[in-house]
């Protein structure tokens, strides 16, 4: 059994990776333990409001690389630990059996060398699947610069893999993560994408990364603007077929002259996630949301901001507007839009009906008519003030995996 001390060290070094999603895999139980839960599942929530779905842990925090923003970097004086593959496997099955977790999110520092570290990761997931008969969710983080054959084999056992781009431009990467290069992250991503497409095209038996790939960008450690970041995210969704781009607002854990001393605002991270939702679920493009060299406004959510710039589209009539148009109304999210589409088949909807259906009208009323009636304010400046006021503390959209989205907060933008 792994020691509590080791578990602590290896968890604390892994926790800043924001991804914790366990969704996207329908892996079936093949006689051992576990299966995939397609929509994902939260097993607990920590006092910081984040969901625990996977056991998020490093195999080792003993790194030969020296990324400035990371506390596992080689010249940082921190306690080091390395777990054996057996220790990790045992931990996973015993936690899983007790229903503490949905699976494993395993990553590692560059222990000894990229190939060695990647091999240890491979060894662990292979053991977990073949010797321990584990069919639960496995998310594996790849090591940059590792041999592509090891990467390929590891992908055969994982549900999802991720390479973190971390910094939005090559220039920032050079400065802050000197041993990494853009290539060392993008090449394996492309390799896996190719292999996954091939696997699907040939309808081969078994699974190859059923939950696809994701990546993470650190926001606020380098000078890139939101516009650049969102265009990068959009490119990754469209071109590289990524399932998810995570944003992690920079938290200073080490001091360095090249790094800001203050954490990036959480509100900025929140706005980026809202914009990311607009890209993925609401039919917006990055170009519509923010200029290349601009930032998202902090006082308004990006959908409101877009609507205010495009008042010529509004108001729209809820009884006749097509789904794409409803989704562009501030305050009407995917769930409300669906409710409206269903209900209006049977009756004409007035404001009272919308209220009863719990469509939140606080923002929406300025942009819609219901049965021809308008209840908003026609004055743009007034609307702006009304919309910006009273938006509560930002909820962490970063947690809006499907699992959390099932709860009351549906990310209705």
């Amino acid at each position: 059994m792994i020691s509590e001390e080791k578990l602590k060290i290896l968890t604390e070094s892994a926790k800043y990776d924001v991804s914790c999603s366990s969704s996207g895999s329908g892996r079936k139980n093949g006689g051992g333990m576990g299966n995939g839960y397609f929509s994902g599942c939260c097993h607990s929530f920590t006092p910081d409001g984040r969901c625990i779905s996977l056991l998020k842990i490093l195999l080792s925090n003993d790194c030969v690389f020296n990324c400035k923003y990371c506390m596992s970097r080689s010249d940082c004086d921190v306690p080091r630990a390395t777990a054996t593959p057996e220790e990790i496997c045992e931990l996973v099955v015993d936690f899983y059996k007790r229903n503490y977790i949905e699976g494993l999110f395993l990553s590692s520092a560059v222990h000894r060398s990229p190939d060695y570290a990647m091999e240890q990761l491979l060894l662990t997931v292979k053991k977990l699947r073949t010797e321990y008969g584990f069919y639960g969710y496995i998310h594996l983080k790849g090591i940059p610069h590792a041999d592509e054959r090891i990467v390929h084999e590891a992908a055969l056992y994982a549900d999802r893999m991720s390479y973190n781009i971390e910094l939005p431009t090559e220039k920032s990467l050079k400065l802050l993560a000197p041993q990494k290069s853009r290539e060392s992250v993008l090449l394996p991503m492309k390799q896996l994408q190719r292999e996954r497409d091939l696997f699907r095209a040939e309808k081969r038996k078994g699974r190859f990364l059923p939950a696809g790939q994701t990546t993470q960008l650190i926001v606020g450690a380098s000078p890139e603007r939101d516009g650049q970041i969102l265009r990068l995210a959009q490119g990754l969704y469209r071109g590289a077929g990524l399932k998810r781009v995570y944003f992690s607002s920079y938290v200073p854990v080490v001091h360095d002259a090249l790094l800001p001393d203050r954490p990036a605002g959480e509100l900025r991270e929140h706005r980026l996630y809202q914009a990311d939702w607009l890209l993925r679920f609401y039919g917006f493009s990055a170009e519509e949301i923010v200029e290349n060299d601009g930032d998202l406004p902090l006082d308004l959510d990006p959908k409101c901001a877009w609507a205010l710039r495009n008042m010529q589209f509004f108001p729209v009539e809820v009884n006749s507007a097509p789904a794409e148009t409803l989704l562009r109304v501030p305050g009407i999210g995917t769930r409300s839009a669906q409710k409206i589409l269903d209900a209006r088949k049977y009756t004409r909807l007035g404001f009272d009906a919308l209220k009863k259906m719990r469509v939140v009208l606080k923002r929406a009323r300025h942009f819609i008519t219901a049965n021809g009636k308008f209840y908003g304010s026609g004055d743009e400046t007034a609307v702006r003030g009304l919309l910006a006021a009273g938006e509560g503390q930002p909820v962490q959209l970063s947690l809006f995996e499907n699992e959390a989205a099932r709860s009351a907060l549906t990310g209705e933008l």
């Binding site: 059994m1 509590e4 578990l7 602590k8 968890t11 604390e12 892994a14 926790k15 800043y16 139980n29 006689g31 051992g32 333990m33 576990g34 299966n35 839960y37 599942c41 939260c42 097993h43 607990s44 929530f45 920590t46 006092p47 910081d48 409001g49 984040r50 969901c51 625990i52 779905s53 056991l55 931990l91 015993d94 936690f95 059996k97 007790r98 229903n99 503490y100 949905e102 069919y135 938290v251 959480e266 409710k339 269903d342 209900a343 088949k345 049977y346 009756t347 909807l349 009906a353 009863k356 259906m357 719990r358 503390q393 909820v395 962490q396 699992e403 959390a404 099932r406 709860s407 907060l409």
Partner: protein, 241 residues
Amino acid sequence: MIYFYDGSADAFLTAFLLAYPDEDATLTSGGKQLAIGQETAFVRADPARAEAARKRLEQLDKNCMHDLDMLLRSGDHTRDMVAFNYFKLIATRGCPVRKMLAEDAVIAAEECIRRVEFEIHRFHGFLRFMESASGALYAPVSPDNDICDLLVPHFRARLPRFPFVIHDVRRKKAAVYDGENVFLAPLEHAEVALTADETAWQNLWKKYYKSVNIPSRERLKQMRGYMPVRYWKFMPEKKDG
């Protein structure tokens, strides 16, 4: 008239047939106070009449019995009237009504069902097993709604080799998977001899829970919103505060 029934589907359907033509009907399976001067009827399940009602309603909406099952599992005291109004609407409209989302009866039923289903989903995550010395798993739960048997398929699919017991301590019953069959049994109190390592695994889990938190970003309100305090009792990482 107030119609009392025992909360079972058969009794509900029997009462439904009686109450349907009654303009001023109240259905209840709880201990609602009697209003002075109101007439009351105590309806006992009549399997034959219930079956007839079931058949007829299923002709109008073939999935409606699933809705009824969910509604009657709700722990909400309004469930009897919510179910009654919903089925009354199905009977008067003569077709499925679940998408008529501007109808009060449908809104109420949909919300009630969603709360039950949502709690099932939550327990897929929040339920905690302990390992007994015999290797069987034991999970005490105290859900708002009567759902312990509905939790079984999920865990059975992922832990087919582990017999387990999900014990609803509030309703004093347990859903049991013996490694082959599933059954529901009354269970007042369970004495479980735990495996030697159980405490050590629980401690590791508590350590993990503590280590993965980012203290500088405390959001207790959000945590409690996602994971309400009433569920903490059986979660090792939360139960000691």
